[in-house]
């Protein structure tokens, strides 16, 4: 007997029947590998929650400083998100649709913030804006000081988070079939019309994915902030109390040795972040978000 099936034995073929579902080695391997990673995610979270006694959590919930810090974190990351969209999407479009000299340099520059340690980012910005530098005088004269202000936080966050929007926009715009745009043009759409009515909506899903990544990256930032904006004093767009972002807030508690309070605040923030991501996921699943169903979240 020959044919394409190896290991053919003589004798009558076995009767055809549906193979019963069984646990193959392959399935087990997948399960073990996935579970290991999930465990790595879960264990530290478990440790945080178990370290936080309930009364401390309640106390943290009633602490206006905690809420000011959480508010500052979302406020700053929101502005950074807006900036990533306003400046990052056009740059992504440029990279996707135009060819120009020095393109490779620009592309590398965009990837750089993803690679460098974020302390360097904060340090670089610090050197630019620290009191005594020309830029410091200019920004203060304009009423927009950077050192230890909301603007400083936002600058760091944009630096570390916008690349995700640029990269995702680049890929998404590239994926839009040029024939769609040509069809739109010949149906009467000018260049800007075609961009707004065809290119952007088709690319939106991928761009939103990039924006969410950017936002997530901004919320979790600490390295750059430790140098440029450890404390945030009211100025410009921020009129709240003197505060810090939540990451710095928790870092400070840990530094002070107040581990139980640190764990309590961490738990609260974890729940809020998890709830937000879950809400976006469910929103996608049930089609309530404009970009519809999709794999958007990191």
């Amino acid at each position: 007997m020959g044919g394409c099936a190896p290991h053919v034995t003589d004798g009558p073929p076995a009767p055809l029947r549906r193979r019963p579902p069984r646990l193959s080695l392959w399935t087990v391997l997948q399960g073990v590998l996935s579970a290991s990673l999930l465990l790595l995610f879960l264990l530290p979270i478990y440790a945080l929650f178990s370290e936080a006694p309930f009364p401390r959590v309640v106390a943290a919930l009633q602490n206006p400083q905690v809420w000011a810090s959480i508010w500052l974190t979302f406020y700053a990351s929101g502005i950074a998100l807006l900036a990533a969209a306003v400046f990052g999407i056009p740059l992504g479009y440029l990279l996707a649709r135009r060819s120009f000299r020095g393109r490779a340099v620009v592309e590398s520059l965009v990837a750089l913030p993803v690679v460098v340690p974020h302390l360097l980012v904060g340090f670089g910005l610090f050197l630019l804006f620290v009191p005594g530098t020309p830029l410091h005088h200019v920004t203060v004269a304009l009423g927009l000081p950077v050192y230890d202000t909301l603007l400083g936080v936002v600058l760091v966050l944009v630096f570390v988070s916008a690349p995700y929007t640029v990269l995702a926009s680049d890929l998404s715009f590239r994926a839009v079939d040029g024939r769609m745009i040509e069809a739109a043009r010949s149906l009467g759409a000018g260049g800007p019309d075609a961009f707004v009515t065809v290119t952007l909506p088709i690319a939106l899903r991928g761009i939103v994915a990039g924006l969410l990544l950017s936002w997530a990256r901004a919320v979790s930032e600490i390295g750059g902030l430790l140098i440029l904006a450890w404390v945030v004093y009211p100025s410009g767009l921020y009129s709240g109390p003197v505060s810090t972002t939540i990451s710095v807030y928790i870092y400070n508690l840990v530094q002070l040795g107040d581990l139980q309070d640190a764990a309590a605040v961490s738990s609260i923030f974890l729940l809020i972040a998890f709830g937000l991501f879950l809400a976006v996921r469910l929103g996608e699943r049930y089609g309530r978000l404009p970009w519809g169903r999709g794999e958007l979240l990191p």
């Binding site: 024939r179 010949s186 149906l187 009515t197």
Partner: protein, 346 residues
């Protein structure tokens, strides 16, 4: 002056050169653009549509030179390969798209009218991904017509359609020509569509116009092997390949009758009563058709297609059988030369 005129249109695209192309398109005419892949068919359409710059020549719309105009001002409906329906819009909003751009007050009514005309009303809320090939074609056509184009450019309308959908689309295209009187330029690889729809043919090869003629001229003297096969010659041979086979038998006979460039011949047929077959060959396949049977065979090392009429008494030949055949010398023609110029047989 009415309709479109293309005068000596040329465009250079780094290594590829299109044209010069001359073409007149009166209302209600249809032109089929033919040629092998890479011959410049799509390039020609995109140049007309304004997505590629014309380096020389002119495009005139009702006497107005539109060669330098932006695509959106040319009033032509370009349907690219794959149709390019907008995936984020429903069928209804795809069709409405050109009307929205023009801010037409009657957009809703006109959209409804077009959906009805192309039997799309029930599909109005579907997304393009939920349509069959034929439905998607109708949406593309409805959307194009919503822009009131003065010329329709369609790249491979029948691509990926089943036979039934092809038939229906053919009817729609005919209606388009007869009712709307919009001139149509189609790029097609389908002889059925080309011959039923087009009154003129533009055959491109490596960007050059190999032939611009009506159906008769194309059928009468296909200029190259592609055209010969396209119009339905099933047995097309390259002269150099025949020569390589030596002077024996069938190849020599074909060479003797061939023109200087190559040969195309049709209609190998059954011998007249009582006369012995001139050639024999081995049957590779036999496929029944409504008219008879199409036999693919190998004779003297040459692959041949033979059409035998339907017969109630003679069964179709079996694969591997050796059968005899003759070739009607008057059906033999050299590529690029009129069939009538070929000398009569022995």
């Amino acid at each position: 002056m009415s309709g479109w005129e293309i005068e000596a249109l040329e465009s250079d695209l780094g290594g590829f050169r299109l044209g010069p192309v001359d073409l007149a398109l009166a209302p209600g005419t249809a032109v089929a653009v033919l040629g092998r892949s890479g011959a410049g068919k799509t390039t020609f359409l995109r140049t007309l549509a304004g997505f590629l710059a014309a380096d020389r020549g002119r495009i005139l719309r009702d006497g107005t030179d539109v060669t330098e105009w932006l695509p959106e001002r040319r009033c032509l409906g370009y349907v690219p390969q794959g149709l390019a329906l907008f995936p984020h819009r429903t069928v209804e909003r795809n069709v409405r798209y050109p009307l929205e751009l023009r801010e037409r007050p009657d957009a809703a009514g006109r959209t409804r009218e077009l959906l009805e005309r192309f039997s799309l009303s029930k599909l109005a809320d579907r997304r393009p991904s939920q349509l069959s090939g034929g439905e998607a074609q109708r949406v593309a056509l409805a959307r194009t017509l919503a822009a009131d184009p003065e010329l329709i450019l369609w790249d491979e309308p029948w691509q990926a359609l089943d036979v039934e959908a092809r038939y229906e689309l053919g009817l729609v295209l005919h209606e388009l020509r007869e009712t709307d009187r919009v001139p149509v330029v189609v790029v097609t690889h389908d002889p059925g569509l080309a011959f039923s729809l087009a009154d003129r043919f533009l055959l491109l090869q490596d960007g050059r116009v190999e032939l611009a003629s009506d159906a008769t001229a194309l059928l009468d003297a296909p200029p190259n092997a592609f055209a010969a096969r396209f119009v339905g010659f099933e047995n097309v041979f390259d002269r150099t390949r025949l020569e390589r086979r030596g002077a024996g038998g069938l190849a020599a006979w074909l060479l003797e009758r061939a023109g200087p460039e190559g040969v195309a011949f049709a209609a190998p047929g059954p011998s007249a009563e009582g006369v012995p077959w001139r050639w024999t060959g081995t049957v590779r396949s036999a496929r029944p058709t409504p008219d008879g049977v199409v036999v693919e065979m190998l004779a003297d090392g040459l692959p041949l297609v033979l059409r035998a009429p339907r017969s109630r008494t003679v069964p179709p030949p079996l694969v591997g059988a050796r059968i005899g055949f003759d070739i009607d010398p008057s059906a033999l023609c050299a590529l690029g030369a009129s069939r009538r110029s070929v000398p009569e047989g022995p």
